[in-house]
């Protein structure tokens, strides 16, 4: 019982981090139909910002999270303006964005590799290797803090989307772009800001990832498959679905890792991706592509 509870707790903590890593990807797809393959490479860029803030200035990665998010937000705005805006009205936009974001991922990977080499790194604040103990159960502080902060950021994001005027505009644009435009929403501005927010969330996730996982520039190739499986399971474009998908798969993979060995843990995500695409391609909370 205690062992099962322990695995569940670890899975839930990681689920929070995965959710934050993936919800920016989901938001960007939902609003702009951009399949952002560069998302994990931008998470790694965020991780490097926190890493260097900690290494050079001693700034805790949790405190440097806003810095990382803000820098990545601006990078997101620039990227959207330079790479995606001109193609936004193209009939093959989604397909083109796969190639474009793949190219962006290569550039980010190459730039980070050239600057910092492909050495494994991890930010090491004291709590990253500490834990709370409750009898036989332990709670790693780093994973717990990362999970809780991720959940807090996601709650903030959902509240922003649900209760603010810009949030309404973002949700409306993601559900029916033409209708939103007819009602006076500046969909180009909404797309720009949404992309910025999505990439900003990658920056925030990167700060947390920097002390939960070891990372290096080429690590994003491993993460993209994991993140895509979370987003596809939840339903492409559904932030809430992505969050639930992240918790579900993180817990399942924790159990698989504990009982079948760590090698099989990652397989959980790929198997889930195959199964969901075969059985319910729209995901758990997505809808078939049709408008009202």
């Amino acid at each position: 019982m205690g062992h099962t509870l322990q695995i569940l707790i670890l899975g839930l903590c990681l689920g929070g981090v995965y959710a934050l890593m993936a919800c920016g990807l989901s938001l960007v797809f939902g609003v702009m139909r951009i399949v952002n393959l560069a998302h994990p490479s931008l998470i790694i860029a965020g991780a490097f910002i926190s890493y260097w803030c900690f290494t050079l200035f001693g700034i805790d990665p949790i405190l440097s999270l806003p810095i990382s998010a803000a820098i990545l937000f601006v990078i997101g705005l620039i990227l959207y303006k330079l790479v995606f805006e001109k193609e936004a009205r193209s009939a093959k936009y989604s397909e083109m964005t796969v190639l474009l974001t793949f190219a962006v991922a290569m550039v980010v990977d190459g730039a980070l590799g050239a600057m910092f080499s492909n050495t494994q790194r991890v930010t090491s604040p004291d709590y990253a290797t500490d834990a709370f103990f409750f009898g036989t159960i332990f709670l790693p502080k780093g994973q717990l803090y990362a999970g809780l902060i991720s959940i807090a950021i996601i709650i903030g994001l959902v509240a922003f989307l649900r209760y603010t005027r810009l949030g309404y505009a973002i949700r409306a644009t993601s559900q029916n772009r033409a209708a939103a435009e007819l009602l006076g929403v500046n969909v180009n501005f909404v797309s720009l800001i949404s992309f910025g927010i999505g990439v900003g969330l990658a920056g925030a996730a990167g700060s947390l990832v920097s002390f939960v996982f070891s990372f290096f520039p080429a690590k994003h190739w491993e993460w993209i498959a994991i993140l895509m499986s979370l987003v596809v399971l939840g339903g492409m474009g559904s932030v809430q679905g992505t969050v639930i998908g992240a918790f579900l798969l993180a817990v399942i993979s924790a159990f698989v890792g504990a009982y079948a060995g760590a090698t099989w843990s990652t397989m959980t995500f790929f198997v889930a991706l195959f199964v969901i695409l075969l059985v319910r391609p729209q995901g758990l909370f997505g809808e078939k592509p049709e408008h009202v």
Binding site: Y168, A169, A172, N176, A180, L182, L183, G184, E287, V292
Partner: protein, 244 residues
């Protein structure tokens, strides 16, 4: 005849493709229901899109209350008082009825006024009030169409344009839609609709416009159009069905 909207000699089409409208004319009077009829491909929906700014007229002009609308974006046209409900209803399926209504007043800066108008619309349409927190995508076709029309009314537009409001609805529900339009007309709204079910549309309208091959063939009181033998033969399925 007083005019609210005038369309003169409009030529328009999609992208660089051939023109769908080849010199369409239209006059909209305040406080009436106007129905545009015509065969498939006549340019009925295209005409509404050209008025609302989704398509840019290549020639001709669209004048609303003395102001030329040519070249304006849809939101600019909306702010001037022309609301448009497209064929596919254009709702936000994962938003509730209340949230859809809120989007209808997106251009309103006064939040208190917006809330007041949402409450007012919900009072006027009990079927929506009962479902205020229901997701739009889970409602029936008739309820969705009612929501589209209610949402269009939120900004108190001077003209509401409806593209095929009866599409995909059961006959009983279609009559309910027309009854709502008449109610709105009686409250002072002006309605311009495109209707594939020409007979039904004209019977419930004050003014009719016959469009074919992108040109306006005839404009006049709906009753006159209904009783015109030539129009009956060509566009209303023959004399017997028109009389029915």
């Amino acid at each position: 005849m007083s005019e609210l909207l005038r369309v003169s000699g409009v030529v328009a089409g999609y992208g660089s493709g051939p023109a769908i409208l080849n010199g369409s004319d239209l006059t909209v009077e305040p406080g009436k229901i106007h129905c545009i009829i015509g065969p498939n491909g006549a340019g009925k929906s295209t005409l509404l899109k050209a008025i609302v700014g989704i398509l840019k007229p290549r020639e001709g002009e669209v004048v609303f209350e003395g102001e030329r609308l040519n070249g304006m974006r849809p939101d600019q046209v909306l702010r001037r008082g022309i609301a448009f409900v497209p064929q596919e209803r254009a709702l936000f399926p994962k938003m509730s009825v209340r949230e859809n209504l809120r989007m209808g007043g997106f251009v309103l800066d006064d939040r208190v006024e917006l809330q007041r108008r949402i409450d007012e619309v919900l009072e006027r349409f009990p079927v929506l009030k009962e479902r205020a927190d229901q997701l739009a995508g889970t409602m029936s076709g008739g309820q969705q169409q009612t929501l589209s029309m209610a949402r269009a009314m939120l900004l108190r537009p001077k003209i509401v344009m409806l593209d095929e409001p009866s599409l995909g609805l059961a006959p009983k529900i279609v009559q309910d839609m027309f009854d709502i339009m008449k109610m709105l007309r009686d409250e002072g709204a002006t309605i311009l609709l495109v209707e594939q079910n020409a007979m039904m549309g004209l019977k419930n309208s004050d003014w009719g416009v016959v469009l074919d091959l992108g040109r306006t063939l005839f404009e006049g009181p709906a009753k006159e159009i209904l009783s015109d033998p030539r129009i009956q033969e060509l566009y209303l399925g023959g004399r017997s069905s028109a009389a029915a």
